[in-house]
């Protein structure tokens, strides 16, 4: 038979199966599997892009080229040539003068198009309603922020001096999009037009000017530009993208990504279970037909090929349908999210669709192909002796293939070998543990003999196909686990995260405190009833050697490492370690350390720079070399917003170098007066507002939580498909058993009770596993991913077992009710 004719025959068979409704279930399982995967894919893709963009708003752009001298013009022309949006900004500290008053401010000279991401908001009067700025300041005008406005006692229309130029104050600045950059240098803010800069006479050799070329555009274009620019960077120039952003934002994004990927993984696993159950049913239903085909002359190869085509066609059609459903579902979800959180989600890439189809085909390959192999090998004699060639499970090769597919999908979806390995290992271990526990529990339940015939019958059913029962229990367990995680555990984690941020977490930093101002500052706070914050000394130093090796940014591939080498570290010293730090290796020094030449390093930065315990670091501090051995690595809780240092030394090493001090404190809402008084009393202080940064991080976390919630809704849907597939795959058997029982005199109530007993047992066991799994998942997420402590939730057990028992019993009842409506004789004749 030619391939074309075989293909036609395969299609005809497919059509017949379709008419008989037999393929509906496997097709539905596949469609929903692919739909859930692609919905997750599209949605996660869009949310991820949105999160990236949201985080980019902290930069004011997608990518920024920063330099301490003007960048070569080719940087800008290349960006324009690549179709990226481009604008420039110069930033430098300067005194702003009005009459006799003057304040050190951070000046931003912006060009047209600024900002590329996020928005500048301005108001016409102090504490008045603000609005988004539609343009940059007009020539000859300046926008000043509230602090400067108060400190200089300005009114709109007043004139201030900046260098040798005069500016009319045109608006009050209330929000800027790139407040997070280098916040150590931020002070009161002034925005002016770039074209006015020359007139100020402030741009000269020695000026502390940062030139920022801001870029925005499609991800591919941005990545390509980054590739282009990196090799052209010279000392004093660097590229900053969201990947190089501040550690706290970086870690928030990392978490978001892990969270979403984890949620997607659960759907993938559930999809596999649904496909496996459906494929098994398909196999059982087609063995006779295959034996018959072999009997009338079809070769083993032909039967195999026919069904292979059969499955390939169905797989592609179902996958495409699933993708379509996925696209529509994620659209609906995005609109919902947009209305909730007023987030504009960028359009998704087409890649998730490809991933969806690939996932669908891979699942089909891993879970439908092994039974297919059994179909090909069905003995012809089965036509005469039906007990021959009954499905004997998938065989070792089949399980290996299925496992390989799942493992591949997990590693692929995790985008992270460690996370993928963790999930895969956890999954395998969980499956084994769940399987063994389920087996033990079913065996135990079967021992409870004298509980009536309905109970016996139900449990006997569980025990008969112990593997199938375990599969059902575990699959439903995953579905319920997703539900529990979505509701109870998610709430727990959010609460834990929120309470991990102390209610009075510092929201203001004070930088540039001189040694003789420490006591007056303490008195200032005491006089106003505000808790005196701890003050830390700070010395700036450039890392020049690690052991005998001199360091240069060119030695590192990692952008963050490059930047760290290029810039100066803030070094500090203390006797005791800060409460929110934790030693990961080595030891913190004794109060009376014999040696002062020691360093304690933050473990993330040590990893980035490849520094280990025992390495000797040499810093250039004010032209002198300061060396010390790394004796401990610390984990720092950046979420605390306390003052923290990458590198600390014991007292005695750094005191002789010029130091300023830094502190952070909590400014209660409505106490702007305190800020003004502080600035009046200590005009040299630089005050940094971190409340804004925190608000943005918090908003981001909230969106992540919402995104995960959506993603888990689809996991739940996939779990329900598994339940449906599980019920459907045992439907024939149930019908048969119910018929025999009725023939032997069982009432409908007795059969209903037997079914209820079985499903309730499945539900209770699934609920038990789900509760254990959800608690374990919560624990892992809390400890490993979110760095939070985790309190085991007792309600999860109650809800898991209770809802599992009731829900699965009810669903089982609904799914098997049909069995009671068929006259026993019809069933018996069908079997005979």
């Amino acid at each position: 038979m030619s391939l074309v004719r075989e293909f036609r025959l395969a299609l005809r068979l497919l059509g017949r199966d379709q008419r008989a409704g037999e393929l509906l279930l496997i097709g539905l399982a596949l469609i929903i599997a692919v739909a859930s995967v692609t919905t997750v894919g599209f949605f996660a893709d869009r949310v991820h892009r949105a999160l990236n963009r949201q985080a980019n708003q902290l930069l004011g752009a997608d990518l920024v080229a920063v330099a301490d001298r003007p960048l070569p013009p080719e940087f800008e022309t290349e960006a324009r040539r690549r179709g990226l949006a481009v604008t420039r900004m110069l930033r430098f500290p300067s005194m702003v003068i009005r009459g006799e008053k003057n304040v050190l401010a951070s000046v931003k000279a912006v060009a047209g198009g600024y900002p590329l991401r996020g928005e500048v908001r301005i108001a016409d009067r102090l504490y008045g309603a603000d609005r988004p700025a539609t343009d940059i300041p007009a020539r000859g005008t300046a926008w000043v922020d509230e602090r400067l406005f108060t400190q200089l006692e300005l009114a709109i229309g007043d004139v201030v001096n900046l260098g040798t130029a005069q500016f009319r104050v045109a608006a009050i600045l209330t929000h800027e999009p790139d407040s997070a950059i280098g916040f150590i240098n931020s002070g009161p803010r002034v925005y002016v037009n770039e074209s006015d800069l020359a007139a100020t006479g402030l741009v000269q050799t020695g000026s502390r000017i940062r030139y920022r070329l801001q870029l925005a555009g499609a991800d591919a274009g941005i990545d390509a530009y980054r590739e282009w620019a990196l090799p052209r960077l010279e000392p004093g120039q660097r590229i900053e993208g969201i990947r190089d952003a501040r550690p706290e934002i970086r870690s928030a994004l990392d978490r978001a990504e892990k969270f979403l990927n984890l949620a997607a993984l659960v759907s993938v696993i559930l999809a596999a279970v649904a496909i496996a159950l459906s494929a098994r049913r398909f196999l059982q239903r087609h063995l006779d037909g295959c034996a018959m085909m072999r009997c009338v002359g079809a070769s083993q190869g032909l039967v195999m090929r026919l069904y292979l085509m059969h499955f390939a066609v169905m797989g592609i059609v179902a996958s495409l349908l699933g993708c379509t459903v996925g696209v529509l579902a994620q659209l609906a979800l995005s609109y919902w999210l947009a209305s909730l959180a007023s987030v504009q989600l960028p359009a998704p890439g087409w890649l998730p669709a490809l991933h969806g189809v690939a996932t669908g085909l891979a699942l089909l390959l891993g879970f439908a192909l092994p039974p297919l192999a059994a179909i090909g090998k069905v003995p012809t004699l089965r036509v005469l002796r039906r007990e021959l060639g009954a499905p004997r499970g998938m065989g070792l090769a089949g399980y290996a293939l299925a496992f390989a597919v799942i493992a591949g999908l997990i590693l692929w979806k995790a985008h992270d070998l460690e996370l993928g390995g963790l999930v895969l290992g956890g999954f395998v271990a969980a499956m084994l543990v769940a399987g063994v526990v389920t087996w033990l529990l079913i065996t135990l339940l079967a021992r409870v003999r004298n509980r009536g015939v309905a109970w016996r019958f139900g449990i006997a059913n569980l025990r008969r196909h112990i593997l199938g029962s375990i599969l059902q229990v575990v699959a439903l367990g995953i579905g319920i686990m997703a539900l529990l995680t979505l509701t109870l555990i998610r709430g727990d984690l959010l609460k834990a995260w929120q309470t991990s941020l102390p209610p009075h977490a510092p929201n203001r930093f004070i930088v540039n405190i001189q040694p003789d101002q420490i006591r007056p500052l303490a008195e200032f706070f005491a006089a106003r009833g505000v808790v005196r914050p701890p003050v830390f000394p700070m010395v700036r130093g450039r890392l020049i050697r690690i052991n005998e090796r001199s360091v240069a940014s060119a030695d590192y591939v990692d952008d963050r490492a490059k930047r760290l080498i290029d810039r100066e570290f803030n070094l500090s010293w203390a006797t005791a370690m800060q409460a929110d730090n934790e030693i990961v290796s080595g030891r913190w020094w004794e109060a009376t350390a014999a040696r002062a030449d020691q360093f304690s390093m933050e473990n993330g930065i040590a990893e980035t720079l490849g520094v280990r315990i025992g390495d000797v670091l040499t810093f250039d501090v004010a032209g002198q070399r300061v060396a010390g051995t790394v004796t401990s690595l610390r984990k720092v809780d950046w979420d605390s917003f306390n003052v923290n240092f990458f590198v600390m030394a014991p007292p005695g090493l750094l005191e002789r170098y010029p130091a300023s001090h830094i502190t952070s404190f909590y400014l209660p809402p409505g106490r702007v007066d305190l800020l003004n008084a502080l600035v009046q009393a200590f005009p040299n202080f630089l005050l940094i507002d971190v409340a804004q940064i925190m608000a943005q991080v918090q908003k981001m976390m909230d969106q992540v939580a919402r995104a995960v919630q959506f993603v888990f809704l689809f996991t739940l849907l996939a779990g329900l498909v598994v339940l449906y597939a599980a019920i459907a795959s045992t439907q024939d058997e149930r019908l048969y058993q119910a018929t025999i029982m009725r023939t032997l005199g069982a009432s409908r109530a007795q059969i209903t009770y037997a079914n209820l007993a079985e499903f309730a047992a499945i539900g209770a066991l699934s609920g038990l596993l789900a509760a254990a799994g959800a608690n374990a998942l919560g624990f892992i997420l809390a400890i490993k991913v979110l760095n939070l402590s985790y309190a085991f939730n007792g309600a999860v057990w109650l809800v898991g077992v209770g809802c599992g028992t009731a829900g699965i019993a009810a669903a089982g009842y609904l799914g098997t009710r049909r069995v009671l409506g068929i006259a026993p004789l019809q069933v018996l004749q069908r079997i005979a």
């Binding site: 409908r748 006259a823 004789l825």
Partner: protein
């Protein structure tokens, strides 16, 4: 047992197919009656209707004075459990249960508290005392049918219905099973009604009912 004008029709598309037409006969307590006929003559349908496993289009079936189809489905099931035993061609044991549990099942369904002892005794009687805890798939065909016979007789039914009980067995095993069935039939004075193709089986019955095209050829005149 009294069967009166039993008719069963099924709708196939727009035509009515008559499977059984106007079948009437009586069976006395302790009788052994064989129902014979070619394939499609309506034997199995008749047996199913006698057991209340389906509903007739018209006609009546009375067992010990109870009108089977005046009862609802659960009522018929209860009557079956009390009075009717079943032996099938393909045994129809529940694969999830052991031999003992299969035999206990009808007793348990009727709420009998001594089900275990009775079932054990019955399995001893059919020679399977040593295989109580075997599952059906661990038993040979003959053994499975003996379990099925034990299950049918354990409730001491007034009426035993058998549908080709030797159809799936070789001649020697079939003969053993038939012997067993008739022994129990005598011991318990059960009325035996069986559908068969097996000449040796029908010869051992007290009477033979012949079905052809849904009609009884020799029914009324023999009652």
């Amino acid at each position: 047992m009294r069967v009166t004008a039993l008719t069963r029709q099924v709708a196939t598309g727009d035509a009515q197919l008559t499977i059984l037409q106007d079948v009437s006969f009586e069976v006395m307590p302790g009788e052994a009656v064989a129902i014979v006929g070619v394939s499609g003559s309506g034997k199995s349908t008749l047996l199913g209707l006698l057991a209340g496993l389906d509903t007739p289009s018209s006609g009546r079936v009375q067992i010990n004075g109870h009108d089977l189809y005046a009862l609802d489905e659960d009522g018929r099931a209860e009557l079956r459990g009390r009075m009717v035993g079943f032996v099938f061609q393909s045994f129809q044991l529940l694969p999830a249960m052991t031999a003992l549990e299969n035999v206990m099942l009808p007793l348990e369904l009727a709420g009998d508290l001594a089900a275990r002892e009775a079932a054990r005794a019955m399995l001893d009687r059919v020679g399977l005392g040593g295989r109580l805890h075997h599952y059906p798939k661990q038993l040979s065909g003959g053994e499975q049918q003996r379990v099925a016979i034990a299950r049918a007789f354990v409730t001491r039914p007034a009426l035993l219905l058998a549908d080709e009980p030797t159809g799936n067995l070789d001649a020697a095993t079939g003969a053993q099973v038939i012997d067993l069935m008739f022994e129990l039939n005598h011991e318990q004075r059960t009325t035996l009604l069986l559908v068969t193709h097996d000449e040796s089986l029908s010869r051992r019955c007290t009477r033979v009912l012949r079905l052809a095209g849904g009609r009884l050829e020799n029914g009324k005149n023999l009652t």
